[in-house]
Every structure is written in structure tokens, then in C-alpha cells.
Amino acid sequence: MSADAAIRARIGDIPTPQFLTTPVTSIGALSAARVAIVTTAGLRRGGDIDLWSRTDGSFTVLPGDARDVQLSHFSPNFDRSGFAADLNVVYPIDRLAEMAAAGEIGSVANAHLSFMGAQTDATFSTILLDSGPAAARVLLDDGVDVVLLTPI
């Protein structure tokens, strides 16, 4: 079993919050949509790369023109060399810019967000009731229509 397969087997059935319904928002044409990235990779900007703690449900704002972003996720259990070589393999900011230039999406948001994944039950409540709605407000204020969620 590969290293990743072993981790998948261990974490695949970790309990996650369950809800009775799935809220869904529809959009018009993707070619007119404003897109933001929200990642749970625990990214921070350079110079601010203290490790994210496991119970920290906060988020950080990544300006759209920032490329000095780093992994600050607490877990050592994933490959880091891919991100070191090319941040787009986690945070595809340049790919979105190319798609906007090609007219595939309407525009790229001015600000993108990072949380840290692998959280505990208590932190889910913080994200659901506090930091999540605050993050939504940041995105809505920027006119975002579509959020691309990326893990690590």
C-alpha cells in the first residue's frame, strides 16, 4: 500500500458534519462569472508562515497578485515538493488568470482565501457560524459568483 493509500484508508471515514439538505446556488454563464479560490491548504503569505494549529478555524486573505504564498499546514503527511516547485498545483491562481484572459471565465477575484483543513468537530462550528460567513462576506464584497475549493 502506498503512503497516500494508507493515509486515505485511515482518514477516509473520519466523521464529518452531516446535514439534512444540500444548499445549492446556480449561476448564469461561466464566461461571465467572477471566480475565487478558497483553499484548505493552510496557505499564508511569505513572512507569515507560522504553523497553523489544528483548532484554528480562521482564514487568511491572499491578494490576487500575491505569489509569495507558503504552506503552513500543521500536518507533515502530504507531499510538499509539488507546491514548492509550482504553487498552482495547490493554488491555481495563474490558471484562473489564463482562463479569464481566454474568456472561459468572466474574471478572477481580487482576493482569495485560505483556511486550514483537517479540523476537529469543534472547529467546524466556528467555520459554520463565524469565520465561514465572514469569509463569504469578503468574497461577496468582491462580487464573486463561483468559488473553487482546493484541498491539500
Binding site: 497516500d4 464529518t16 511569505g46 507533515p76 507531499d79 495563474d94 468559488v147 475549493l149
Partner: protein, 232 residues
Amino acid sequence: MGVLARVFEQAGMATVGLSLVRRQAENIKAPRMLHGEFPLGRPLGRPGDPQFQTDVIRRAFALLERSDVPVLEDYPVVIEDETEQPAACPLPPRHDPNVHRAVDEAVGLRPAYNRQRLAASGRTAVGRLADADGIAALIERFVTLADGGDLSAAGFDADSVLAAAQDVRGYYEEAALALSDHVPAARQVESWFYATTQTGAVICAAANALKAAGASQDIWYFMLPAAQHRST
């Protein structure tokens, strides 16, 4: 990710998420998910491959048109990690016999680390507890742990020892990228560090020593990747 998708959808934004752990994606029931059986740490699949990354995004965005939510689709290409095949990066020869072999090795890798940092426009994972100038001193503190010293004797606490372990790992992994003519497959650089370098052996020995001394699992376990834990 499922909680965030829920919050954003309720706020009036459409979401589509990339998945790396299919069972989790099945459980969270976010409206739209594209699962990629890619290495953990590489959710867009292939570093340095814009065409591949764009295709992943396009397939994810195609799910925005689906009304039969929750929907979970699979990306058709599978990429596996190669933990068992360490990257073939050269190591510097012994230079200064008056310092620990691990410290000597790290000093010898500094030009490679500098090249990678330049290539990455200054972006580096090193700097949580020390910058590149402080890596040698961090390694000396891990030698103290490996020799049986406790955290305080090495100048660490429960948090800083993990930050230091990631700084040292980041320094070596970035140097390794400069010593490769391509981006190695996932976890090859990780295995190169822990399985073939002097400093990797010191970190493993330090974790084992803390474990043997009864330190919290939250410390020794997270000092290195699960796949790299081995008895000495």
C-alpha cells in the same frame, strides 16, 4: 471543505470542490465535487503542467451546470505517489570534520537551496523558526534530541519542535528540487530526505528518542510524515 461549500452556497455563491480523499468527499455531500486520485499535496495533479491543471479546472467547472446535486465525479487520470523510490539527488561530500555530519551536509546543500529559492522568486517554506542561516543550528538541536536530550535541553517546546522539523525538511526539499532536472514524483523528495540524508536520519532518531522517552504522540508523530517513521 464541505462546511465551507455549504456556507458559500447559502450566501449565494456557487461552489465546486476538488477532492483528494474520495471517502471523505462521499461523506460530506458538498454540492459539486471532482475527485482526483492524485498524490496528497497535489490537488491539481501535476506541478509544472499548466495544460493538465487547466483540464482539471475545466472538468470541475463543468459540474456547475449539473442540477442533480450532490454530484461527485472522478477525474479519469490516476497519479500515485512514489514514496518507495527516493529521488536520486546527489549529496555533498564531507567537508568540515569538526561539525556533525548532518550539519556539514546541510551547509553543503546551501548553494542548491539558494538556487531553488531564486528560481521560485524568493518563495520558500523555510522561516517558521529559522531562516536558511539558522538551519545548521536547528539541526544541532535535533542532534541533542537524538542523543536523548529532552525538548527543553534542545531549546524546543511542543510547538517549536514541529516548526523546526518543517523548516529543516523544507530546506532540504527545496535544495533537492535544484538538484533535479525535473520535478520528482510525489514523496520522492520526502523519501530522499528521510531515507538517504544525514539530517533526515537525525530527525527520525530524534522522533524515536522522544517516543522512547514517553513524549506526547502529538509531538514525535508529527515531526515527520507517517510513512517515514521507522525504528532505529
